[in-house]
């Protein structure tokens, strides 16, 4: 036993066990682990808030928590789960771990930037923890104005600063993926041969880089409005509260695709692997990922159907929302078709991925 330990070959996990080596690592696999651990911590943090919400809802009366705490709990749950679990979940863990290996690169294009991205995530998370300890916010995760900017009395500024910082983590990860996938593919690995998981993360990275800055600007405006009363969203000062919703959903709808596209990539890989077959319609699948990412930018108005956008805007956004469902439909049909004439393993992993496809 002991002699076997000594003879183990050194790899990324066992070459150095010190905490310092983990916190200063620029190895994409180790950074993926750092993310996995911290994202899991936030998942349980957000989950604890959800547990309290469900306990409170067991009876109509306010017996576990009162109204105010309840409102703060669901806001905390939303903020933790959206920005500290769902958004980074697959790209920052599986993406960081697998993309360089799948394309035959030694690491991502900017390893130090990758580590910085994790630190930003942690700092953003610490702001969110500080916000919760200092009393939380009761704005909901959507921070709708003018409630968040003029009426809410919680730690709104701390909360939005935390999300802005975590947003930069997302931008840096996206930037890293785009450059890595463009410039570091092994010779002969053309775009038309790229694994679908890499395509999925590429499409996700584009959304991260293009949409997240809009969120940062929007939340910064809320902080400025609260501190200096600049009046962007305050109707009494000539501002427009609905403008906030447009800006917010310009990020937050594409953010839905940040959450789901990497998952679609995972499902594509698992189904093909356990059916021992090429994916059905590879070109269509890669095209559908990009189409979802692109059209996903043009559907934010379907969150504002009754919020006061014009009827024309409502109808156009509705049409575009139906359009984005077409590539999503292609993907699901192609997954089913991949099983056709396959050699299908009935293992738990593959059955789970069919459920995901379903």
């Amino acid at each position: 036993m002991t002699s076997a330990d000594i003879s183990l070959p050194k790899h990324y996990l066992n070459h150095d066990y010190s905490l310092r080596s983990w916190l200063t690592t620029i190895d994409h696999k180790r950074i993926a682990w750092l993310y996995l651990v911290s994202i899991t911590a936030f998942f349980f943090f957000g989950g604890a808030a959800a547990t309290l919400i469900r306990l409170e809802l067991a009876t109509p009366a306010g017996d576990v928590v009162q109204t105010e705490t309840y409102n703060r709990l669901f806001s905390l749950h939303g903020i933790a789960m959206v920005w500290f679990f769902l958004i980074p979940s697959i790209p920052a863990t599986l993406g960081n771990f697998l993309i360089p290996m799948m394309i035959g690169a030694r690491d991502v294009a900017f390893p130090r930037l990758n580590l910085l991205s994790w630190y930003l995530y942690v700092i953003g998370g610490l702001f969110t923890l500080a916000m919760a300890i200092a009393g939380g916010v009761d704005t909901g995760w959507t921070f709708y104005t003018p409630f968040s900017s003029l009426f809410a009395n919680g730690q709104v500024v701390l909360a939005v600063v935390g999300v802005i910082i975590a947003g930069f983590s997302s931008i840096l990860t996206g930037l890293n993926f785009i450059v890595t996938i463009h410039k570091m593919r092994a010779p002969g690995l053309y775009w038309t041969r790229l694994p679908l998981f890499v395509w999925a993360n590429y499409a996700t990275a584009i959304i991260m880089v293009l949409a997240t800055p809009v969120l940062a600007i929007t939340l910064l405006l809320i902080a400025l409005e609260r501190i200096f009363g600049i009046g962007i969203f305050d109707p009494k000062a000539g501002g427009d509260p609905v403008l906030f919703q447009h800006l917010f959903w310009f990020y937050s709808h594409p953010a839905v695709y940040i959450m789901i596209l990497p998952g679609m990539g995972v499902v594509s890989e698992i189904i093909t692997c356990f059916a021992r077959k090429r994916i059905f319609g590879y070109d269509g699948m890669a095209f559908a990922l990009l189409a979802i990412a692109l059209i996903g930018f043009l559907v934010w108005g379907h969150h504002l159907f009754v919020a006061g956008e014009s009827v024309y805007a409502g109808v156009i956004f509705s049409l575009l929302s139906f359009m984005v469902a077409v590539p999503s439909g292609i993907k699901v049909f192609n997954w089913a078709a991949t099983l056709y004439k396959g050699s299908v393993s009935l293992s738990p992993i593959s059955t789970t991925s069919w459920w995901a496809a379903w």
């Binding site: 003018p146 319609g281 009754v306 006061g308 509705s318 050699s343 299908v344 069919w354 496809a357």
Partner: protein
């Protein structure tokens, strides 16, 4: 919810407006299509997985034209989606355009209650009486944050945005009491910001409306404010100050300095009272002071009702 005031509770959501059936028809069609898709897909997935399981000795040679197949089901999906879109968009446009003859009721949302004012000044809080079978248009305003007027039994929902007037309309089709909710999170007691909509026979509604309100009608109250606030000094007939006359302007296009034109709706009149320097009528100087802090949302409703009544008188021969 015990006692005689019980809100109509049926196993399914009651259909209490003329639009409810149309909304439900679309909704249940969509649910039906979804169920069908789920059955087809799960059938395919489970069927293929079992038939082509690794241990099965089956023919696995395939020459399916992949691109052609994809194009076929993409076009199929597109056709289904476009059909649903046309149906849904048609309904949406109907929902967004109130009939011209609709009975008008003013509503103000504030943290955390709904206040209603009927045409003759009758007011109520967290209860809204409406007549059966007549189209009702609720003009919505809010005093603080965004609220949302939501009557599930009518399938009617509209957000109320500070600084703007919004309308929602419905034609009640069933006598009864129905839930009214605020459907946009609005702070501490949002979950308690709810009320009832009471649908009555038109005759009963008239009797209720005439009952001991003791209040003057909205336009009359507005006219008094028009004097007491001093609006009449400049905007009154025969005034020496160069201010536009307000008779008959409601609903009409107004030319502005700078060349644009706006329709003088509720929002424009409100903005002109609170921010008079913003949209100045062409040919006039921006001399009007702002009334921010001197009028509240309720006063604005009265003033607007008065200015509207001026147009009605104008319109009559």
């Amino acid at each position: 919810m015990a006692g005689t005031d019980a809100v109509s509770d049926t196993p399914l959501l009651p259909q209490a407006s003329t639009l409810a059936e149309r909304v439900d028809a679309l909704f249940f069609t969509l649910v039906g299509v979804d169920v069908l898709m789920v059955l087809v897909l799960s059938g395919l997935i489970i069927g293929f997985a079992v038939y082509y399981r690794r241990s099965a000795r089956v023919n696995r040679t395939t020459n399916v034209p992949e691109t052609k197949t994809e194009i076929i089901w993409s076009l199929g999906l597109l056709t289904i989606f476009l059909a649903i879109f046309v149906w849904a968009a048609h309904l949406y446009v109907t929902e967004e355009n109130p009939p011209r003859n609709a009975l008008e009721i003013h509503a103000i949302g504030k943290q955390w209650m709904w206040k209603f004012e009927h045409r003759n000044g009758q007011r109520e809080i967290n209860e809204l009486h409406v007549p059966l079978g007549l189209p009702v248009k609720v003009v919505l305003a809010t005093q603080d944050v965004i609220h949302s007027f939501f009557v599930p039994a009518f399938r009617a929902k509209q957000d109320v945005v500070p600084g703007r007037y919004r309308t929602v309309w419905f034609t009640p089709s069933r006598i009864g009491r129905y839930h009214l909710f605020c459907a946009e999170y609005c702070g501490l007691d949002h979950s308690r910001m709810r009320g009832q909509v009471i649908v009555m026979e038109p005759a009963e509604y008239e009797a209720w409306l005439a009952g001991d309100s003791g209040a003057e009608s909205l336009p009359v109250q507005g006219e008094k404010l028009f004097s007491s606030l001093g609006c009449i000094i400049c905007h009154g007939a025969g005034s020496k100050v160069a201010a536009p006359s307000l008779a008959g302007i409601f609903g009409k296009p107004v030319p502005l300095t700078g060349g644009q034109t706006v329709v003088a709706d509720e929002t424009y009149i409100r903005d002109s009272i609170l921010m008079p320097e913003e949209q100045v009528v062409s040919g006039y100087e921006p001399i009007m002071p702002s009334f921010v802090g001197r009028v509240d949302q309720s006063d604005l409703t009265k003033l607007i009702a008065y200015i509207k009544s001026l147009s009605r008188e104008e319109a009559r021969p």
